[in-house]
């Protein structure tokens, strides 16, 4: 039990919380046809995080957030410059900027020597949730011991905070988000600005991306922003049900994915373990495959 609490619980919680926050905002990315935004976001913030770390010498949340937001803002300005002033085709502008930013991030990681200390290109790409540990845990009563709880890995607090912010905004602005997602023209006629709500969706996605990136890696973030919402969309027409289902699938992916990656091989006595972040993403993809094959909303493409 103690080793489960010390090693498995924190890692499983990290993966699952990241899955939840990404899936939650992912619903609105999928509905507004911006599914690739998570992918672009995961790529462009990398140089910002590296530069912020090199300048400040710490992986504190606010330093990482500041660096990531600066990088995202810079990229957005660069894309706008290429599109509007230079006249580059929109998807080419986006594609060239996000690959260049990621390349810059990789190069900075390698050149600054950061690679061998705190981060690693592999951790950013693959995710490494297994490093989240809780050494203070000693049996079940630690779950109620505030001193022990205080030594939980810091990324758990970060992810829980992000989840709370995203959830709060979505609950407060649910009506606006729904009408903009399904019918932006109608939204305009009743005085809701699709531009403002669109910007809000992007900002929340950026928040989710930044806090997930450093703890679970790009791949889990991209998968969770699209797979659970897509799975849920194959099962229902109702947005509220879709959001709740997507959270359920994110939770299931996190728990089952971690169990398959780490606990299952152990139970069979194998020394190998699969990368947990990758396995969680694959499980989410398999849920989506099942929903696409057997869900009630397959067949002819429908719109709501």
């Amino acid at each position: 039990m103690t080793s489960f609490l010390q090693i498995d619980l924190p890692a499983m919680l990290t993966g699952t919380l990241a899955a939840l926050v990404c899936a939650l905002i992912g619903n609105f990315l999928v509905l507004t046809r911006q599914s690739m935004l998570g992918d672009a976001m995961g790529h462009v913030v990398l140089p910002g995080i590296v530069i912020a770390f090199v300048l400040a010498g710490t992986t504190a949340t606010w330093v990482m957030l500041a660096g990531a937001f600066a990088a995202a803002l810079f990229s957005a300005m660069l894309v706008e410059f290429l599109r509007r002033i230079a006249g580059v085709e929109p998807s080419a502008a986006l594609g060239s900027v996000f690959t260049a930013m990621f390349a810059l991030g990789v190069l900075l990681l390698e050149q600054s020597g950061v690679a061998r200390t705190s981060f690693d290109v592999h951790h950013i790409l693959f995710g490494n949730i297994e490093t989240a540990i809780w050494p203070a845990a000693a049996g079940l009563r630690s779950l109620f011991d505030t001193a022990a709880l205080a030594s939980l890995p810091p990324q758990l607090g970060r992810l829980a905070f992000g989840l709370a912010v995203v959830a709060l905004v979505i609950v407060l602005l649910f009506k606006e988000l729904r009408v903009v997602s399904f019918d932006p023209d109608f939204a305009r006629t009743i005085g809701i600005s699709p531009r403002m709500i669109g910007a809000l969706i992007v900002a929340l996605a950026a928040l989710a991306a930044v806090i997930s990136l450093s703890s679970v890696g790009v791949i889990l973030l991209v998968a969770m922003m699209v797979c659970p919402p897509a799975t849920a969309r194959m099962l229902t027409d109702d947005l509220k049900t879709q959001v709740l289902l997507s959270l359920l699938f994110a939770l299931a992916s996190g728990v089952f994915g971690y169990a398959i990656a780490v606990l299952l091989p152990l139970a069979f006595g194998y020394e190998i373990s699969f990368g947990a972040a990758g396995t969680i993403a694959v499980v989410a993809g398999l849920f989506q495959l099942a929903a696409m094959l057997f869900g009630p909303k397959r067949g002819i493409p429908r719109t709501v």
Binding site: G95, S96, A103, V121, S273, F274, A281, V282, M292
Partner: protein, 306 residues
């Protein structure tokens, strides 16, 4: 200073014979991606290319496992490239199926296929790393590319494949140009638009798989997007644009390979992509057809005449 000196001597082809062959092989690859990228961009296949590139990872891992279990070296290029091509094709089919057969839109299809295939590849890599076969360290280079340690034979294979791609494009150049600008007109006149789109996709798949070794699967899509976008600023003529795009792609790969030859730690793919982006920015300002400077001068002349 020393670095700069060795960079100049490498650029001028005064490095070892092996390095020269590798740089020329990379340049050939850059030219091929530049050519194919023009049509991928015009037919809006750039994001599909990104997904397909990421989807080669499980194939590379599979190729490694098959090669090792058959007693070959795990780094044997034919096995890895065959595996990569297989899963890339599977991913392309999956994107088609999701877009046509479910209510999910194309962007969701692309993003979910990219994420799931890439994640599967990563899981397979972590498994391979726990196997005790040796040689698995070599697989890392397929993520971000490397020219260090590349063999002459590999570079020559790259160059030959790239040449084949260039010839294939030249053979159907007129048809590709037509569907890129007016697919409806082409369809009305009996051109096989679907088949030609499939040909573009096949060419994209081909250059992605060929490019894995040098640029890596994470960033190869940049070589399909950035050179054509830069070439647009120099001409309005498709033929010339394709040629310029090929030159920009080749230059990016050549300089990128040279720079990473000087500092062996740097992932080649990242350097190549940054060189390509620098060339895009240069073209944006100084391109002779639509560059910002040229347009500003043109506007002044126009005002002066009136």
């Amino acid at each position: 200073m020393n670095d700069l000196h060795s960079l100049v001597s490498i650029l001028l082809l005064q490095a070892g014979y092996n390095t020269i062959v590798v740089m020329l092989g990379a340049a050939a690859l850059g030219a091929a991606t530049g050519i194919v990228g023009v049509f991928a961009m015009l037919r809006r296949r750039a994001l599909v290319a990104d997904a397909v590139a990421h989807a080669t990872l499980p194939g590379v891992a599979l190729g490694f496992i098959v090669a090792v279990s058959l007693g070959f070296s795990g780094r044997s290029l034919p096995f890895l490239m065959t595996g990569a091509a297989l899963t890339a094709i599977l991913a392309a089919l999956a994107i088609q199926w999701i877009t046509n057969r479910t209510r999910l839109t194309e962007d969701t299809a692309i993003a979910s296929v990219l994420a799931t295939f890439f994640a599967l590849g990563i899981v397979m890599l972590t498994v391979i790393q726990t196997l005790k076969t040796g040689g698995q360290a070599g697989l890392d280079i397929y993520l971000l590319g490397a020219t260090a340690g590349m063999l002459r034979e590999e570079a020559i294979t790259l160059a030959v494949f790239s040449l084949v791609v260039a010839i294939a494009v030249a053979a159907i150049f007129k048809e590709l140009t037509l569907i890129s600008f007016d697919a409806d007109y082409a369809r009305a006149h009996g051109f096989p638009v679907r088949l030609l789109d499939l040909a573009i996709l096949a060419l994209v798949l081909a250059v992605v798989v060929i490019g894995l070794r040098v640029v890596g699967l994470v960033l190869i899509v940049a070589l399909l997007i950035t050179p054509p976008a830069a070439a647009r600023f120099w001409t309005n003529h498709t033929g010339r644009m394709t040629l310029i795009s090929a030159m920009i792609g080749a230059a990016s790969a050549y300089f990128g390979a040279a720079i990473s030859a000087v500092s062996p730690d740097t992932p080649t793919g990242a350097v190549i992509v940054l060189v390509a982006f620098a060339l895009l920015l240069f073209s944006v300002f100084f391109g002779s057809a639509r560059g910002i400077v040229v347009r500003a001068l043109g506007a002044r002349q126009w005002r002066g005449a009136s």
